[in-house]
């Protein structure tokens, strides 16, 4: 057995990485600790990491608070709808564009690529959503983010890597194009579909800004805008709603605020091991170059 010689270099390197990792882990531990502590303890700063007294009050409160539960339900609907719509739109377009014999494919690619480097911007986007009558509809959060040039390029690169002989053979056997896509191509593409499904889930669960600008009716809000309102501190925003936000936040107490932060990130933590499995393989580093 060969023992690795540990040099000063290795020691320093490991030490620095442990420090960096701690700056990431400690905030999580602190959030957890505060969420289980009575507000008086954390407000007085009676502990840094290990709570002196434990209480489940914050979780009991949140898990029966109608506003909180409603926002979770809205988030689940948005995430489910968004992931499906995004997968369907992105996969079908990427598949069509991966076929070299389809005339017009280069011009469509260029047309899609251009959206990566030039945007109409916030207000024209807002006016489009408004004119489509989507204000206060959950679709306003789903549709504007329903695909992206980057996703199309990566999925297309993947499809191009599949052997062409497969669908040629099926075609000669008389299979239709849809049959080829659904029974041959998609089963072979499970890894990339799973990867993108996970990324879309994260994207929609974390969606915040489109909810703020498109959903005036706060009963339709998903979790992220509600969370912001719950944690907002005094004068944390310029708008007139700020005062309301702050007084609400002050009533809640740090245990409820931090429990809400934890519950809002829980689904992400839950899918993270699967996410990591895929992106670690470099699945998303596919070239977007034409």
């Amino acid at each position: 057995m060969k023992l690795k010689r540990i040099s000063a270099f290795d020691g320093l390197n490991v030490l620095l990485l442990i420090l960096f990792s701690l700056t990431i882990i400690l905030p999580f531990l602190y959030i957890i600790a505060v969420s289980f502590s009575p507000p008086s303890e954390s407000l007085a700063g009676n502990f840094y990491l290990i709570p002196k007294r434990l209480t489940l009050a914050a979780y009991e409160y949140l898990l029966q608070a109608p506003t909180f539960l409603r926002s979770i339900r809205n988030s689940v609907v948005i995430t489910a709808l968004g992931t499906c719509v995004n997968l369907i739109i992105s996969i079908t377009l990427a598949y069509a564009l991966s076929k070299k014999f389809v005339p017009g494919r280069r011009i469509i690619l260029l047309f899609i690529f251009f959206t990566m480097i030039f945007h109409g911007g916030l207000i024209p986007n807002y006016l489009v959503v408004k004119n489509l009558g989507l204000i206060d509809s959950l679709w306003a959060v789903v549709l504007p983010a329903a695909s992206s040039a980057f996703n199309i390029m990566v999925i297309r690169t993947f499809f191009q890597g599949l052997p062409e002989s497969l669908d040629e053979a099926a075609r000669i056997d008389g299979a239709g194009e849809f049959r080829i896509l659904f029974s041959i191509v998609l089963p072979l593409s499970k890894p990339i579909i799973a990867t993108f499904a996970l990324f879309f889930m994260v994207q929609y669960w974390n969606e915040f800004f489109s909810a703020i600008i498109y959903l005036n009716d706060t009963t339709r809000w998903p979790i992220q805008p509600l969370l912001r309102q719950m944690v907002a501190i005094g004068s944390s925003n310029i708008s007139s709603e700020a005062a309301l936000d702050a007084s609400l936040a002050a009533q809640l107490g740090p245990n409820v605020q931090n429990a809400a932060i934890l519950l809002a990130m829980l689904p992400i933590i839950a899918v993270y091991p699967f996410l990591q499995k895929y992106f670690a393989k470099g699945a998303l580093l596919g070239s977007i170059k034409e």
Binding site: P124, I152, P254
Partner: protein
């Protein structure tokens, strides 16, 4: 015969156009129609009169915008944030990537990577919440400051702390994730180079300086140019959450200004003007960055 062939051909092609249709429709409606909306920068748009009937005003909004003091403040704030991210965030990702690649204990390496990639997937609202728990008036940092130094600081409502805090958040969230592209480039280095260096008696620092960094050169150059090309883009979600009336002197960037003017004061045309200025300059910068990359002998970004 040719007719039959053509018919065959079409029969084979229509499914592809049908598959492409929803996606193309999406890009038209949510990306190209808004570009059309940029025309409103040259009109005095009022929702009551409608897009077509609103009067043309030429470059009036642009003249107004460039003659305000706001313009210079926005430009300064936006560029300074990009600059700080460039000189702090960017080198940190490179350093972190090299540190991870130099690890010789695979379990520790895997655990470190798992930890440093995680915050990338959290929403900005969650990170804002964590920031408040730490840096807020009754946050743990202020408790520590009081207990140990007898003082406290208003991190979240201060002009002085805004920029450092925003750069720190960016590092916390995305430095780990940013290493992936460098680690991919490092995986491509021929191990024989390191073997040869070892024979020549090079130490680890010399290895990094003479082999690792030169191998990362293309990646660094391209990412650097991309960053320069997007100098006018701020991380809008992050800024939107971290801004408040007490740090607006340093936190007001183009994106935020567009939001305030357009969607809070309903001055659509003026907001679109500011947004359009940003989009056009960004486009020019990105194209210039791509040209520069090619000029420097790299592949170019596209």
């Amino acid at each position: 015969m040719t007719g039959l062939l053509r018919l065959n051909h079409i029969k084979r092609l229509w499914p592809f156009y049908l598959l492409a249709a929803p996606g193309i429709l999406y890009f038209i409606v949510f990306h190209y129609v808004p570009m059309w909306g940029l025309l409103l920068a040259f009109k005095d748009f009022s929702p009551f009169i409608g897009i077509w009937d609103s009067p043309w005003v030429g470059l009036e909004h642009f003249r107004d915008f460039f003659s305000t003091n706001d313009f210079w403040l926005l430009l300064k704030n936006t560029l300074l944030l990009s600059f700080y991210n460039l000189i702090v965030f960017f080198p940190v990702t490179i350093l972190l990537a090299i540190m991870l690649s130099e690890l010789r204990f695979s379990l520790f390496k895997r655990v470190s990577q798992t930890i440093v990639y995680l915050p990338h997937f959290l929403s900005w609202v969650v990170i804002y919440g964590i920031t408040i728990s730490f840096f807020g008036p009754s946050g743990v940092i202020n408790h520590v400051l009081e207990d140990w130094f007898g003082g406290s600081a208003n991190f979240l409502i201060s002009n002085d702390w805004f920029r450092p805090l925003v750069v720190f958040q960016a590092i916390w969230k995305d430095a780990g994730w940013g290493t992936i592209i460098f680690l991919a480039a490092l995986a491509g280095i021929n191990p024989e180079l390191y073997e040869a260096a070892k024979v020549d008696g090079a130490n680890r620092f010399q290895n990094i300086w003479h082999i690792t960094l030169p191998s990362l050169k293309s990646t660094i150059v391209i990412l650097l140019l991309l960053r320069l090309g997007s100098s006018l883009d701020s991380n809008f979600m992050q800024i939107f959450l971290m801004t408040n009336s007490l740090n607006l002197d340093v936190s007001n960037v183009f994106d935020l200004y567009v939001y305030h003017v357009g969607l809070e004061q309903f001055n659509y045309s003026f907001g679109i003007t500011v947004g359009m200025f940003k989009s056009v300059v960004s486009l020019i910068l990105v194209l210039a960055a791509n040209y520069a990359a090619r000029w420097m002998g790299e592949d170019g970004i596209f």
